[in-house]
Amino acid sequence: MTEDELARRVTLGERAAVAEALNLTEDRRPEGRARAIALLRALRAGDEGARAHRVGITGPPGVGKSTLVAALTRELRRVSRTVGVVAVDPSSIRSGGALLGDRARISPDPNDQGVFVRSLATAGELGGLARSAPLALTVLAAAYDVAILETVGVGQTETDVRHVTDTVVFVVQPGSGDALQFLKAGIMEVPDVLVVNKADQAELAARASGDLAAALATLRSAGALPYDVPIVLTSARDGTGIDALVAALGAHRAELAGPRLLARRREGAIAWGLRAFVRRHGEVGVETRGGEQNVREAIASRLDEGAVIPQIVDEV
């Protein structure tokens, strides 16, 4: 099958095609990479995925991200939106092996053509994002209404997720001050939506959301908050608050519509390109190319010409 044909089938949401396309995005062999680039170009040319909503779900380990993604998926299907999920789990540094268990929380109806779930291992990447995760998300965004990226981590991961999604959801659980600390210390960029999950532990959840609101207020008065970040209380376990989360996601997407969305995506693509460039060529590579600003500009102009990131990283 040609890459154009594959791209066409992906956009039709054919599950076998989506699976094959995702395999390509992970392929490290030169011929595989070339095909992946051709595929991404074809998807980009069709401008597919522009309408999709790309959502990043991130946060510390064990706060219930996977359970929340499962609940969110069910709710989105209930309102007839199709959903693609990439769930990233860490690999063991030593063996390279990984246990990918997140499907278990979703257990989608195998006959439902409107849901697709792929697990990825970080494969030795630092931070919580697998190298191919952004590409996988691009494929899913071409095939489904909502493309969700779930990944563990705070700090750099959260920033990486921002580069490749339209809306970043940061999930915390009651009784842990982590998020608050990160926000205050400026380690973490302010997410687009804050979720306090496990709100079935009502008292603790109320306190956690109060603390978060206070932290946000401080940031706002310091002028460090570009918009009002909603705080949503959910219980992924009991399925409560999920409709409110869907609404918050919709509101953020609506707010971004038009030029702001395009600008955010372009900025994100450039930033992601820079990360990928550094990963490939090192700081030395950046220096030989005349410094970070020059690399950024080079990436931006190639993007505008219709190139895709893996290709740019190879070429620049």
Partner: protein, 655 residues
């Protein structure tokens, strides 16, 4: 003395029970099939291949009538291994008694009704922990009031040892389960209700392994811990109510498929642990059969198990003497050590967020069991723990016992399922639909309102409701649950530590081949480990998944009870390079070919499928004919060898 049995149909099982009683068996121990245990009727998709397999199907009151036909309920002590649907089977039993004009106060027996160990080991859970515990509590409080001779809960640490628990873990998690149940009952009765009576009705079902000295000490530690818990935590003043009452099934996990006749000796030695010490002697003992690791036992195999007990009881002088360990320093010290270590772990669990339930939901306890089991298998593979006939002394003369191949186990006629479906249809046709509807509606109301579900369940039983309908109604109210697999957080040794250099080298060598494979494939080698159907035997799948991760595979494992269609969808969406299925319940011939076909139809023509579990040789041949690449059984105890095979298979499939 009794053997755990039931299979095929209620009528066939009834005949078996009568036979066993004629041989001197004094009680009844009913094994239900997996659909009945997980709340599905025989015509449900997930029941396929499982009806009447590992136990008897009971779908409604009519089945219960056939099952217990001619058996005097008021004179019989009946033990039912039933958990998630315990309230339902108990309701059927009580209804049958009432129908025969027997006062429920005269009924004696046990329902297992211990849901906690289902999440940790046995796998026949349906609802989330909190809701399940509420059902547990309903059965307990109903029985204490209306069926006072009945043991409404049998806390099982047996299954924990079968999932790898050490003696300390077995002690600790039995106690935490009891705490969890007692606290739930107490909360449902109102904060300051006295629960001495409930405490006194709790009995245990424990395991006894081959290290029978330590196991004897474990039993004595149980006696002490239980007494202490009653006194301190629940203020039970009557000493009699604090007595540790327990039954036993001795260990099966250590029984081998290789040279299976050796198991006869193992079983007798295991029994010593629970009979030798008078002070800590079991009330009831069940022994597995010598061919445990081959398949279901035939009546003759069960007879041997019964005779073993009879020889112990009637030919030895054991029952004539007082406790032979009283005053032994060695035993005393060991008991103290076990008690202390167990109590430390009890406190560790209680101090976790959400207490015992939290430790179940977060996978904390499950992870510990999986880790213990992994350590055990590694010891055997290294030859550190000797298994006679397996990793040592493995030369053998041809055995006359297993010559017959498939003949040495009981097989269930596949027509059983079709007949069960027909019986069910006939049953549905004759009942009063309106009554069924109304009684189910009342059940849902009780479930929502927090009323005891027992009276509503008894009304359902009498109205002709089926097992699937009863559980379906509660699924609607309570929701369904998937338990943590416990493998995510398990850190395995991974080699390298002192004295294990050979192992580390071996592991590194396999990792290198997996890395090379990744280079060939262009991405990390990815494997789906699947548990299709209702089979809850997860040990093998867990250990294979862990090992595959440790040698460098990316492993997708979704836990137990996945349908063939779901597995096919996962394999396709995840882009795996190999699929490994684990089936121990006997449904491999129904499920495996369907999955192979499904994969091929989904375009996964190159993905090899391997199968592991209790697969008789003849069936293995049929699976290979159906397109399976390899079949593994418990004889393949070397996980490293299996891993090397998997690498080869993937390499060959990808040219």
């Amino acid at each position: 003395m009794r053997t755990y049995s039931g299979h095929s149909t209620p009528k066939a099982s009834n005949a078996l029970y009568r036979q066993n009683m004629a041989k001197g068996q004094t009680g009844l121990s009913i094994a239900f099939d997996l659909p009945t245990q997980t709340g599905y009727d025989p015509d449900h998709e997930l029941a396929r291949g499982e009806v009447g397999k590992v136990g008897v199907p009971v779908a409604h009151l009519g089945d219960m009538r056939d099952l217990l036909d001619g058996i005097p309920l008021d004179a019989m002590n009946t033990s039912m291994t039933i958990n998630a649907t315990a309230a339902w089977l108990f309701a059927l039993y009580v209804s049958l008694a009432e129908e025969r004009g027997i006062d429920p106060k005269k009924l004696s027996g046990t329902v297992q009704n211990d849901i906690v160990k289902e999440y940790l080991s046995r796998g026949t859970f349906i609802f989330p922990p909190a809701q399940s515990l509420r059902l547990t509590s309903d059965v307990v409080t109903y029985a204490v009031e209306h069926v006072p001779e009945w043991n409404p809960i049998n806390i099982c640490s047996y299954h924990l040892q079968e999932a790898g628990a050490t003696p300390v873990q077995e002690l600790a998690y039995a106690i935490t389960t009891a705490i969890c149940v007692l606290d739930t009952v107490k909360a449902r009765l109102g904060g300051d209700a006295r629960i001495d009576g409930v405490f006194g009705r709790i009995s245990f079902f424990v395991n006894a392994g081959l290290r029978f000295v330590e196991e004897t000490c474990k039993m004595r530690a149980f006696v002490d811990l239980w007494d202490e818990l009653g006194r301190t935590r629940y203020g039970v003043s009557d000493e009699k109510l604090r007595r540790f009452r327990y039954g036993v099934q001795v260990n099966s996990l250590e029984l081998t498929a290789a040279q299976p006749e050796n198991n006869i000796v193992r079983i007798a030695l295991e029994m010593l642990a629970v009979v030798l010490s008078k002070r800590a002697r079991a009330r009831a003992v069940q022994l597995p059969a010598w061919n445990e690791a081959l398949g279901l036992p035939r009546p003759w195999d069960q007879q041997l198990a019964l005779r073993t007990q009879q020889i112990m009881a009637f030919e030895t002088d054991l029952l004539e003497v007082e406790d032979i360990f009283d005053g032994s320093h060695v035993v005393e010290a060991k008991v103290r050590e076990l008690r202390k270590a167990a109590w430390r772990e009890v406190e560790a669990v209680l101090s976790r967020p959400g207490g015992v339930v939290g430790a179940v939901e977060s996978g904390y306890i499950k992870e510990r069991l999986v880790a213990s089991n992994a350590a055990r298998l590694a010891r055997i593979e290294r030859g550190e723990q000797i298994k006679v006939g397996v990793n040592q002394f493995d030369q053998t003369e041809p055995s006359p016992l297993t010559e017959g191949g498939g003949e040495s186990i009981l097989t269930v006629d596949p027509r059983v399922e079709k007949e069960a479906v027909e019986r069910l249809a006939a049953w549905r046709a004759t009942r009063d639909a309106e009554k069924v509807h109304a009684s189910l509606a009342a059940l849902k109301v009780a479930a929502k309102d927090g009323a005891n579900v027992m009276p509503a369940s008894i009304a359902c039983a009498k109205a002709g409701v089926t097992t699937g309908e009863w559980a379906g109604a509660l699924r609607e109210v309570f929701g369904e649950y998937r338990a943590p697999t416990g493998i995510g957080g398990v850190a395995t040794a991974g080699g390298g530590a002192g004295g294990r250099d050979a192992e580390a080298t071996e592991l590194e060598a396999i990792r290198a081949t997996v890395r090379e494979l990744g280079a060939l494939l262009g991405r990390g080698a990815k494997m789906l480990v699947g548990k299709p159907g209702l089979d809850g035997h997860s040990n093998g799948a867990e250990q294979i998944a862990l090992k595959a991760r440790d040698v460098g595979f990316e492993v997708v494992y979704e836990g137990i009870r996945v349908t063939p269609a779901q597995l096919v969808a996962s394999a396709a969406q995840e882009g795996v390079h190999i699929v490994g299925l684990s089936i121990l319940s006997g449904s491999h011939l129904e499920l495996v070919p369907e999955i192979v076909m499904g994969l091929r139809m989904a375009g996964l023509t190159k993905v090899p499928v391997v199968v592991g579990g209790i697969i008789p040789a003849e069936d293995a041949r049929r699976l290979l004919d159906a397109g399976v690449a390899r079949v593994y059984t418990p004889k393949n105890f070397e996980l490293n060898a299996i891993m090397r095979d998997l690498v080869t298979l993937v390499r060959e499939a990808n040219g």
